[in-house]
Amino acid sequence: MATNKHTDETDLIHVAPEMAVAEADVRPAEAGEFVQGTSLWRDAWRRLLKNKLAVFGLIVVGIVTLASIVGPTLIKRTFGFTPDYIPTDYPTLIRSFPPFTGPNGEFSWTHPMGTDNAGRDQLARVLQGGQISLFVGIIATLVSLLIGISYGAIAGYFGGRLDNLMMRVVDVLYSLPYVIVVIVLLSMFRSQTPRGQLTLLFIALGSVSWLTMARIVRGQVLSLKNQEFVLAARATGVSGARIIFRHLVPNTLGPVIVYATLTIPQIMLTEAFLSFLGIGVQAPLASWGSLAADGVQNIAIFPWQLIFPGVTMALTLFSLNFLGDGLRDALDPQMRTV
């Protein structure tokens, strides 16, 4: 559905044939004017900007991502502490203070989200947790993209019995309680190092969430493979693998991007769920899920320990979902529900 990468050298009208109908606002050319074709992507971008909820989502996701990346450094510059800094000079036994409160109960700007049990700054912790949560979401989605696209494209392109067999496997896997298997996998192979556990998490989450992607790509490839540009490629002697990955896959990017945007929040939610159970991200690394899990322990006395990571995470997922919905409407008018 996307413009063809290999024919997109100039920016004239290069729209996959079935998209041509959707080009609603092509102005009639005036005399002497060079007709600037709208590419699919520019068109989609314009449609996206018209969707207020999607723009809201885009802005919030942008802010949260940026804050997670630069926030901890910025806090260190301003207030002089890192996310894992544990102060040693507290006058009281209780080290967890409500938002905007100093150690003596006075108003203070230092900890806008309060402090956790050890007296660490919650804002810095939440931002650092955001790094891990977003990172897991993106990497695991990439893993699922890699598997799903290859699997779906191969099944769709070769068709016939291979396709039948490959899709049967997907059908069977679909009906399995995969999260249950992931729980077994993660709790059995619990790694001694936080990094090892993180890698295990990528593989586990990525390798169970590719099924829908494979179906989408297969469907796209099935509808594309009989078009002229594939025939032309085959006639000029291009190999099967090259046709799949250079000619077919780039044309499925629209739906793939839409689905990937909606996969990220799902994976982040699963990661948080696993971290909540204590088999996801391991200390000293922290994600929103593991921060919330710590917070739940103290909900009755220090509710802000749960509320801040929880609300930050919910807001991010909320925005990502709106962005994904908006992208679907913008990139894929046929999938639109309205």
């Binding site: 309680p177 769920f273 909900i299 509710p303 609300v311 997922l317 979902n321």
Partner: protein
């Protein structure tokens, strides 16, 4: 139809055996053992344990013994941690807890979700539509382990209306918060699916026909539109059950309920092999059977679908 059911059953049984094998393989491949958790055991005791559970036998004998027990009389053996309790007893005891919470949560989600989704579709682009869809998106985005404790904070620790946790039998007020927590995300998904399905159906020819022959709007919606518009909800029920099971894991943890999910997590963390395999097998069987029922229901509800 009968052929369809038989064929599905023929696929289902090997699938369950594959799931059991994968789970067993994961447990065996993982380093360590169920007794290697806390402190180092003296060699003599370790040997006694290995003898007792047949861990010194080659892997194919262990696998064969387990599979034989399962295939012969659905016997999953005894739990390693809850000594003297068979896996079947534990499942039988904990299933009612999970089933009560899960089924009631899904029913609540169906009622609220379908109502909200239908209203949103019938009044498309109104404030009702935007309001319920924003709420639905919120329901999808708030993790249940955040929602649950916040509900406890408000209704138990703040207002003192409801007990914060523990199993209180059935029915009891203890169930209200777990059910609300668990059903939120399904309400949201069902509302979205209903809205999408209804919007598509409301524009279709047979609805126009129904209106043209002078049916009241109420009859059009309830007797014609809902039947077609709810198809996505029916097909969602299969995956929903899978999510429901994982949802109960968290909810049972938060509210300290002695359900299947709670036992499963404990078994996984304790490497209680027979219990893990028993629960995984039980969940897979339930899931596959439910998926089959959903497919059959689909054929009954939508005359265009035929299985052959």
């Amino acid at each position: 139809m009968l052929r369809f059911i038989v064929r599905r059953l023929l696929v289902t049984i090997p699938t369950i055996l594959v799931v059991i094998t994968i789970t067993w393989g994961l447990i065996k491949l993982a380093p360590g053992n169920f007794y290697s958790g806390e402190k180092r055991l003296p060699p003599a005791i370790e040997k006694a344990i290995r003898d007792k559970y047949g861990l010194d036998k080659p892997w194919y004998q262990q696998y064969g013994k387990m599979m034989w027990g399962i295939l012969r009389h659905l016997d999953f053996g005894t739990s390693l941690r809850f000594e003297g309790q068979s896996v079947n007893t534990i499942i039988r005891r904990s299933l009612p807890v999970s089933a009560a919470v899960g089924i009631l949560a899904y029913l609540l989600a169906l009622i609220v979700g379908i109502t909200a989704g239908s209203i949103a579709a019938l009044k498309q682009n109104s404030k009702w539509d935007y309001g319920s869809m924003a709420l639905a998106m919120l329901g999808i985005s708030v993790p249940n382990f955040v929602l649950g404790p916040i509900l406890v904070l408000i209704f138990s620790l703040g207002l003192y209306w409801l007990p914060p946790s523990r199993w209180g039998g059935f029915p009891s007020r203890n169930l209200i918060l777990p059910i609300l927590t668990l059903s939120a995300i399904y309400m949201a998904y069902i509302a979205r699916l209903t809205r999408a399905g209804m919007l598509e159906v409301l524009r279709s020819d047979y609805i126009r026909t129904a209106r043209a022959k002078g049916l009241s709007e109420k009859d059009v919606v309830i007797r014609h539109a809902l039947r077609g518009g709810l198809m996505p909800v029916v097909s969602y029920t299969g995956p929903a059950l899978a999510f429901l099971l994982t949802g109960t894991v968290v909810v049972e943890r938060i509210f300290a309920l002695p359900g299947l999910g709670n036992y499963f997590i404990q078994a996984s963390l304790n490497r209680d092999e027979p219990l893990i395999i028993g629960i995984v097998a039980f969940i897979s069987i339930t899931l596959l059977l439910m998926n089959m029922l959903v497919d059959i229901a689909y054929a009954f509800l939508d005359p265009r679908v035929r299985y052959h």
